[in-house]
């Protein structure tokens, strides 16, 4: 049914339709509306016999999720930013144990300096945890990906993280088509665990493994991720058949026909990028877009095929590896390393800075002309940077950088909370 609904609420509705048995979470912006909505549903008895558990931290949230999942329950939680970092030990644990927890990550910057706004630093910090990581472009896709996430997680016995841009998606009210319970039930069967704590058949979950077997266990986790790579397009196709609209999958190609320059990105910024590319196409530029829906496992072969005839690639990233450059860029560059295809990184949208068509357009034009630097920071205020560097050069005890920059901008009192 079509609804005008907040992204967080749409996700909560879809998670509810997936019949979770345990929901646990700790409040952190911009994720909180999701679990609040689920808490209200549990209270109303809509999700019986689902339990909603208020925990004392994100670390507890993921730990509770693992405990519940080990008993064979379908488990859901959500977090963001610092919350993901605080639970990271248990995040690795869930993947290492192969427990199919589904978690929404409402993407948000990581401090210090503290910042509650959107970027992808949190998702990138969890890149190597062993979780499947899916990125939603729209609220519709964010909702849809959750149904697919439970299906995938339980099929390959791996946890799945659905990444949706904090505020840009979580707090935006958009038209979302939510399915009926019957539709979701037909798509998502009950959870049949590969392993569970069952008094009738006791097992040990979480045993210590030494050098004699650790490599093999880790390799098997990799094999399961590769299996997920096979299953994701199948599940997306099935979803398409069941619900009459397509969401998810590995990649989201857009106007790649005859494209010489392709812009690669994750998440909601693809909308702005497509608009920019449309305008450039109208002017005759041969530009296309490749959205990455599945970031882990990384669909290298599919990306390689999508970029087969491309001459230049620009990766727009809402995060970067400090001291190196783009994170997604390295993955993408690996798929074209056998050809002379320059892959440039544009770091954009850090800490919630808007990414506009006006800023992207000249960057894409420069890229198309072969004039784009390998690493560009979109809308970087060079003068502010130079002034802080000058302060640091003139005086050893130059003070905290974040405070200096805010004061320089006259923004120390800006209340962005």
């Amino acid at each position: 049914m079509l609804q005008q609904i907040e992204g967080s609420r749409a996700v909560a509705e879809m998670v509810a339709l997936c019949r979770p048995e345990v929901v646990c979470a700790y409040p952190i912006s911009p994720q909180t509306h999701i679990i609040e909505a689920l808490g209200a549903k549990v209270k109303r008895g809509d999700l019986a016999p689902c339990e909603f558990i208020n925990v004392e931290s994100e670390f507890a949230a993921m730990s509770v999720a693992i405990g519940a999942s080990a008993t064979g329950a379908r488990v859901y939680t959500a977090t963001a930013s610092q919350g993901l970092l605080f639970m990271i030990e248990a995040v690795y644990n869930a993947a290492g144990l192969g427990l199919p927890v589904v978690m929404t990550l409402a993407n948000r910057a990581i401090g210090a300096p503290i910042n509650i706004w959107n970027d992808h630093s949190d998702a990138m910090a969890a890149r190597d945890t062993g979780w499947v990581q899916l990125f939603a472009e729209t609220n519709q896709e964010a909702a849809d990906l959750h149904a697919q996430a439970f299906r995938l997680a339980e099929a390959v016995s791996l946890p799945v993280m659905v990444c949706m841009d904090g505020f840009i998606l979580t707090h935006a009210i958009e038209r979302v088509d939510l399915p009926s319970q019957e539709q979701v039930d037909a798509f998502l069967p009950g959870y049949r665990p590969r392993q569970l704590l069952d008094p009738a058949e006791p097992v040990s979950i979480g045993a210590m493994v030494g050098p004699e077997a650790f490599t093999e266990v880790r390799y098997l986790a990799h094999v399961r991720q590769l299996e997920a790579l096979e299953r994701i397009p199948e599940i997306a196709a099935e979803f398409c058949g069941h619900f009459g609209r397509c969401s998810g999958g590995l990649l989201r190609p857009y106007r790649l026909d005859g494209a010489e320059l392709v812009v690669v990105a994750l998440g909601s910024v693809l909308g702005t990028i497509k608009d920019t590319v449309d305008a450039l196409r109208d002017e005759g530029a041969r530009v296309g877009v490749l959205g990455i829906t599945t970031f882990r496992p990384f669909p290298a072969e599919a990306v390689r095929a999508a970029l087969a005839d491309v001459r230049r690639v620009v990766v727009v990233e809402k995060a970067f590896s400090i001291g190196h450059g783009g994170v997604l860029t390295a993955d993408v560059a690996g798929t074209v390393s056998d050809r002379a295809v320059p892959v440039a990184t544009v770091v954009a949208g850090l800490g919630g800075r808007p990414i506009t068509r006006a800023s992207l357009r000249p960057v894409f034009q420069a890229a198309a002309a072969g004039r784009l630097e390998p690493l560009t920071f979109l809308d970087l205020d060079r003068e502010v940077v130079e002034r802080e560097l000058a302060r640091m050069a003139s005086r050893h005890r130059s003070g905290p950088t974040a405070e200096n920059v805010l004061r320089d901008l006259g923004a120390a009192g800006s209340k962005i909370l």
């Binding site: 909180t32 679990i35 609040e36 808490g39 109303r44 208020n54 004392e56 931290s57 401090g111 120390a412």
Partner: protein, 278 residues
């Protein structure tokens, strides 16, 4: 007011506290104490976590360290060990200090780190929009306890005392003068001084439980009754509470004070030492 000019960062104004929030009362009382005690705040460092209470540290014109959620006591421990001569004041809240950072509270108390821990208890997560905290009274409605809270809250002061705090007290926003006196004692104390101060979150806790305005909540405090509990149970407009909200009448004042080696003394940090350490 001159006090405010001397102690505050005017460029950070206006502050972000909601109308009716009890934190402002406590903050102002704290400023009065600071004004009386310190000619300058150069030797005072404030350490804060994340939350509405922690946020007020940003308004004080002193050395301030803003940390991750729940960790101010650990940052403060490092700070105090490195510079034992500084006066360290940790400002935290019930979510920051008792929930996600609860582990650090008991260990800072056990180690008797020589600092003042000021814990604002408004029984709810205010900054994220009114979720249940480990201090939320039973039966109270929050955005994550839509059926009324079923869990039993902490008694923060008793927890701190049991963990080894050598100064334990409680005050409330309704009586700022009492708070000022206790804060003075806490700052005088050598060792881990834990001061819980009850304040009201009008915007989330008060509104969600239909407890009225900030003034209503202060009057509720003034009756020294099982304040919120009684009000919750008495409100006919409320949905039925499965288990009557119960917060026992909470005593105010200094509950415990003792002397044993501080962490710095036990470790011989900062020279001089103390006979108790030997």
């Amino acid at each position: 007011m001159n006090t405010e000019k001397r102690l505050l960062r005017p460029d950070m104004m206006p502050h972000m506290l909601c109308p009716g929030c009890g934190h402002g009362i406590v903050f102002e009382a704290m400023l009065r104490v600071l004004d009386r005690r310190f000619a300058t705040l150069d030797q005072v460092v404030f350490v804060a976590g994340i939350g509405c209470s922690s946020r007020i540290v940003g308004y004080i014109d002193a050395g301030t360290l803003h940390t991750t959620h729940g960790r101010p006591l650990t940052f403060a421990t490092g700070l105090k060990m490195a510079r034992p001569e500084l006066t360290v004041i940790v400002v935290t809240g019930d979510g920051d200090g008792l929930s996600i950072g609860g582990n650090h509270l008991i260990h800072a108390a056990r180690r008797n780190v020589d600092l003042t821990c000021l814990l604002f208890n408004n029984e709810v997560y205010g900054m994220t929009g009114g979720q249940a905290a480990p201090t939320t009274v039973r039966g109270a409605y929050t955005s994550t306890t839509p059926g009324g809270n079923r869990e039993t809250p902490f008694d923060a002061a008793r927890l701190a005392e049991a963990a080894g705090a050598t100064f334990v007290a409680r005050a409330q926003s309704y009586r700022p003068q009492l708070f000022e006196g206790i804060l003075e004692q806490a700052l005088d104390h050598r060792g881990f001084a834990f001061l819980e101060v009850l304040t009201d979150c009008t915007e989330y806790f008060g509104r969600t439980n239909r407890l009225g305005t900030g003034v209503d909540l202060l009057q509720s405090q003034s009756r020294a009754e099982p304040a919120i509990g009684v009000d919750l149970a008495a409100r006919p407009t409320l949905r039925p509470v499965a288990e009557t909200a119960v917060r026992p009448t909470l005593p105010m004042g200094v509950f415990h004070q003792s002397r044993r080696p501080t962490l710095a003394e036990a470790l011989g940090v900062g020279g001089g030492g103390d006979e108790l350490a030997r």
